[in-house]
Structures are given as structure tokens and as C-alpha cells.
Symmetry: C2
Subunit: 156 residues, 2 copies
């Protein structure tokens, strides 16, 4: 797969995590584990239903402390167990287009001494979408979620 990270369009996060790729992969692919870390508390992802294969759907509901409930729907594109997971919200299950595409996520898990070099790249269509995502709190939000992910993975 081409990896075309463009700093003018995309956002990224990189972290050394003291847990093996196997544990991080489980956190990304088991609904019971995803619920525990995917959104920064007090937000939470619930009702997670995933079909982990290229063309398979991802569905969940992001719930906020004030009763907010936002559906989150996407499609897996590349599934390489314990190494790489790619999905997009530009498509739904079965590769069906969606009306308002926003991002593609590319997560890689690279074995490293003492754990995993964890990388998340988020691709956008244009600089406006990138700026919107940054203003929505990408760095803080994904940073906190990654803290939660690391803490959970270390306990597995």
C-alpha cells in the first residue's frame, strides 16, 4: 500500500508503548476492549460491531457525558494482524460510499525492544479537513485515548 503522509493534509501520533503488538491489536479489534479506551473519558464508544476484513464494516456509537450519541460508521480497508489496520469513514460496509467523508486512519504496530512502536496516521481530503480535525482537538483527544490504550494493553 502507498503511504502518502502529507504534513499539510494529515495528522499523526507516534508513541513507544510497553506492550506487545499482540495486546495492542486486541485493543483495536475486540469490541469489549475498544469500549474501554477508544474515546477519552468521560466519552465512550458503545454498541461496537465490527467485521474485521477488507470491505467489512465498523460501527459504534460515541456517547458523551451529556447524553450525546453520535454514530460512527466506517469500512476496513487493510487488515494485517498485529501489524497494520486501515479503515475509512469515506465508505461503509461493502465499500459503499458515504455522503460526508472525513478521514482514513492507518495504524501500524512495529515490534520494538520492550514493546511496540505505535503509529497512527490520519489522512484527510484537504487542508480544511485537517484544520477542522486539529481544531476538534486531535492531539489532545488522540493523545488521551492513546494513554488509555497503553494502560489497557499493558494489563493484558
Amino acid at each position: 500500500m502507498e503511504t502518502l503522509f502529507d504534513p499539510g493534509l494529515d495528522l499523526a501520533l507516534e508513541r513507544m508503548i510497553e506492550a506487545p503488538p499482540r495486546a495492542l491489536w486486541a485493543c483495536w479489534t475486540r469490541p469489549d476492549l475498544m469500549e474501554q479506551w477508544f474515546c477519552p473519558v468521560p466519552w465512550k464508544m458503545t454498541d461496537i460491531d465490527l467485521d474485521l476484513r477488507p470491505g467489512g464494516h465498523f460501527r459504534g456509537v460515541i456517547r458523551g457525558p451529556g447524553g450525546e450519541a453520535m454514530p460512527n460508521v466506517g469500512c476496513y480497508l487493510d487488515v494485517l494482524p498485529e501489524r497494520r489496520l486501515v479503515w475509512t469513514d469515506a465508505l461503509a460496509g461493502g465499500y459503499r460510499p458515504k455522503p460526508e467523508p472525513f478521514m482514513t486512519g492507518i495504524i501500524t504496530f512495529e515490534p520494538a525492544p520492550g514493546g511496540t512502536l505505535y503509529r497512527a496516521m490520519v489522512l484527510h481530503a484537504d487542508a480544511e479537513a485537517r484544520a477542522k480535525h486539529e481544531a476538534m482537538g486531535f492531539h489532545d483527544g488522540w493523545g488521551k485515548a492513546t494513554d488509555q490504550l497503553a494502560a489497557l494493553a499493558r494489563r493484558l
Copy 2:
């Protein structure tokens, strides 16, 4: 892959073609052949550049008899030689989202006595996009292009 054809959202074309899947696959994947059939004459696709693998780009320019020139950009999603080809214009190369997604195409080539059962399914996000595509002349346009495809494939 899930194949979720929905008659309220999608469009399809099915044809028995007297040419083997190998020849039809070549017509879909070799730029020099694609140029010869992909648009109904007097329209033509030129400047075709394709990276035939999941996540690879498809680029071309659709040119009309009055000097029209419309770029056509997409991303391959599923590439199963001589059996199935899936791409979408909701993404560009490297799975990057695009601003105005319209369709995903799923082409299947099924060996049959004397040739190939050829199927094209086009998935849309909603009924409005389907109606727009139908009004743009889907049946006539894809029908004529498929006549051109069949004539070319029979000569290979």
C-alpha cells in the same frame, strides 16, 4: 467481501460476453486497451495511469468531442485477477478521502460456456446519487461502453 447490492441505491449491468475472463481483465487493466472502450465514443478516456493493487490509484482524463476534459481519480480496493475488480472515487491513491464521493464499482468476471458472465454493480451513498447517475445516462452510457468492451475483448 460483502456484496450489498441494494436496488434502491445501486445500479447494475449484466452481460454474456463471448470472450474469456482473461481478455476482459486485460481490457480493464491495461491503459492502452482501456482507452479504446472505457467511454462511449465520441468520448474517450486518456492519460490513464493505474497502480493495480488495493490502495493503488486510478487516474485518467475523460475527454469530450467539444474539448471537455474531466479528471477521473479513484482508488482500487480489491484486485482479484480475472475474477473481481473493485474501486471507488470516494478515495484517491493511498486510501486518501476525496471531497465528493459518488460511487464504488464492483466488476466481476465469471467463466461461462462460450465466454464470460460479466457483471458491473455500481454502489451509491443514497437514492439521490443513484437517481443522478441514472439521469446522467448510466444504462445507455455503460451499455454502449460495454458493447465497445465486448467488441475489443473478442479481438484479443
